[in-house]
């Protein structure tokens, strides 16, 4: 991996986006890496657009400001593509991962992605509904981000999802989230 990976998450309140960023930070701790996970705090309301950030690095992270030039942009809610500029600050080789039933090619066209930029898609909402009966796309998105970036392997990720969710949820929800994370990891497609 590059020395430092910076990730920006776009979601809506109530989709578990901040939790996804937190679990990613936790799972990336392995191998002596330095991690940060932080949301942009505003008036928190279900359905309102929100941003969250990760930095993962081989060296100490002393930067304490939002990610301005993301290596990866993870879009947990595709309706945001029409309402905010999710490509802001993107580099020539920024990776976009979008929760949508559309194909990566369609998304590439919509984002007007450059030749060096990569677009990935997965239907995280459907996966979550099938896995545990709720439209909570965070765990499949987390799986997809790990797959695309290669930050952590599937087995390690699932262990961490299990321990993170076991603090708060029933066994049924934990199992559903593990399944959803696994499917996100496996079903994300490149275009």
């Amino acid at each position: 991996m590059a020395e430092t990976i910076e990730i920006r998450w776009h979601g809506r309140g109530g989709q578990g986006t901040v939790t996804a960023a937190k679990v990613l930070a936790d799972t990336c701790l392995s191998g002596g890496r330095h991690v940060q996970a932080f949301p942009e705090y505003g008036p928190e309301r279900a359905g309102a657009p929100l941003k969250a950030y990760n930095r993962i690095s081989t060296h100490e992270l002393r930067m304490h400001c939002p990610v301005l030039v993301p290596d990866v942009v993870s879009i947990v809610d595709a309706t945001l593509l029409d309402s905010i500029n999710i490509t802001e600050g993107a580099k020539d080789d920024t990776i976009f991962i979008v929760n949508t039933s559309k194909s990566p090619e369609e998304i590439r066209e919509k984002l007007k992605a450059g030749p060096g930029q990569k677009c990935y898609t997965l239907d995280a909402t459907t996966i979550s509904i099938e896995s545990f009966g709720r439209a909570m796309p965070n765990s499949p998105m987390l799986g997809a981000v790990c797959k695309v970036t290669g930050l952590v392997g599937l087995e390690h990720l699932l262990e961490d999802v299990k321990s993170s969710f076991s603090k708060k949820f029933s066994q049924k929800i934990i199992d559903g989230n593990i399944e959803a994370t696994k499917r996100g990891y496996e079903e994300v497609k490149e275009g």
């Binding site: 930070a25 936790d26 940060q36 932080f38 705090y41 992270l61 002393r62 930067m63 400001c65 939002p66």
Partner: protein
């Protein structure tokens, strides 16, 4: 053995308090401190500590309860932010005047009005003259380490003063970062058993706290308070040396970053100092000798040491995340006082940034360093005090 974790600044402080296991904790919620005390209350409920928590109806009562408990002879903690610290104000003076070593994380947040819940330093800077020792923290690790060291500093028999540990609201309190926890036993051993000094509950030796002192002795009492503050610096360094043996992490009165041969430098507190180290590295890579001074011990202020560290720099900007309206920023005033006695001293300017949680971005620090670079080459100072990052 250190344990590597990814936690928020609030969790880190709550865990430090758990490891110390104080006798009494005054609890009142206020954003962004709330989940620190919520976490601590859960430690109490789950039997992880045997602290008596006192749920009060205001921060004024919280500090009052802490003062009573500390005078009675307990090891006492609380935590607050913003309006909560402001509401404690009169009791803060009583805690320090009565020489009660209460330990209090302060999660820095702006003061109303207008209402704002985000991070700036107005709250703790407003408490600058309350007689409390102040330690400032860049990140969750600093906040955790400072909280643990605060007990040894405040409770030192030559000191016996309350200590506030400042960390940035949201930017640190609610961000998850990698850090290292010490083992419970290590922390317990480091802070040691609480040593009592004139406890009210020693009923065989009745005593009284906070009596009336008229003009015949009040002046002397206050001079004594200043003199004990002057001893704090050495204790902070001694405690830091012991802490380094335990943790491997080095603390001083402030951090000097690439300052030895610097031509230009920023002075900046807390989380923004971390961001600034990366900016300084960028300038160094371009051959510009930039540096940084991050204060840690703000009260008492280490004037001589800061003068020594900054004296040879050509131009310095003091960055303040709070303001004294109609005056200069509070950190600027200290740096200015520290440098004035020198025969030759840097050109000094003051920039106010980040009020009410406005992001401090690399471009802000870069613009200031570019300005300093011009000044160091003989350029004119356009304005000594200015707000930066202002929306047009």
């Amino acid at each position: 053995m250190a344990k590597v974790v990814a936690v928020t600044g609030n969790e880190a402080c709550a865990n430090a308090l758990r490891q110390v296991n104080p006798d009494v904790c005054g609890v009142y919620p206020i954003t962004p401190q709330t989940d620190m005390m919520q976490k601590y209350a859960s430690y109490v409920s789950n039997g992880k500590v045997d602290t008596e928590i006192i749920l009060v109806e205001s921060e004024h009562s919280s500090m009052s309860a802490c003062i009573g408990a500390a005078a009675a002879g307990g090891r006492v903690v609380t935590a607050t932010s913003s309006q909560g610290l402001a509401l404690m104000w009169e009791m803060l003076h009583i805690a320090s005047g009565d020489r009660l070593p209460i330990i209090m994380p302060v999660v820095n947040r702006a003061l109303s009005a207008p209402l704002n819940i985000h991070g700036d330093h107005s709250d703790a800077m407003g408490a600058r003259d309350t007689g409390w020792v102040q330690l400032w923290s860049e990140n969750a690790q600093d906040a955790y380490d400072n909280t643990i060291q605060a007990f040894r500093i405040g409770e030192h028999m030559d000191i016996r003063l309350p200590v506030m540990v400042c960390l940035d609201g949201f930017i640190i309190s609610h961000s998850i970062e990698r850090m290292e926890y010490l083992e419970d036993e290590e922390v317990k051993g480091f802070v040691g058993e609480y040593k009592n000094f004139l406890p009210l509950l020693d009923l065989d030796k009745p005593k009284s706290y906070g009596p009336l002192i008229l003009p015949d002795l009040f002046h002397e009492y206050k001079k004594a308070q200043h003199e004990v503050m002057l001893k704090v610096k050495d204790v902070v360094l001694k405690v830091a040396a012991d802490f380094e043996k335990l943790s491997g992490r080095k603390y001083g009165l402030f951090e000097s970053y690439r300052l030895d041969d610097a031509d230009i430098a920023l002075v900046i507190l807390n989380s923004a100092a971390g961001t600034t180290t990366d900016i300084v590295d960028g300038f160094r890579a371009r051959g510009i000798k930039a540096g940084l001074l991050k204060p840690r011990l703000f009260r008492p202020f280490p004037y001589d040491e800061v003068a020594e560290a900054l004296g040879k720099v050509k131009a310095v900007c003091v960055m303040d995340r709070s303001d004294s309206f109609g005056g200069y920023g509070p950190v600027f005033m200290e740096i200015s006082s520290a440098l004035y006695p020198l025969q030759e001293r840097p050109v000094l300017i003051n920039r106010i940034y980040g009020l009410g949680g406005r992001d401090y971005l690399p471009e802000h620090g870069e613009a200031v360093l570019n300005e300093l670079d011009e000044i160091a080459k003989g350029g004119k100072v356009e304005k000594y005090k200015e707000y930066i990052g202002v929306r047009e």
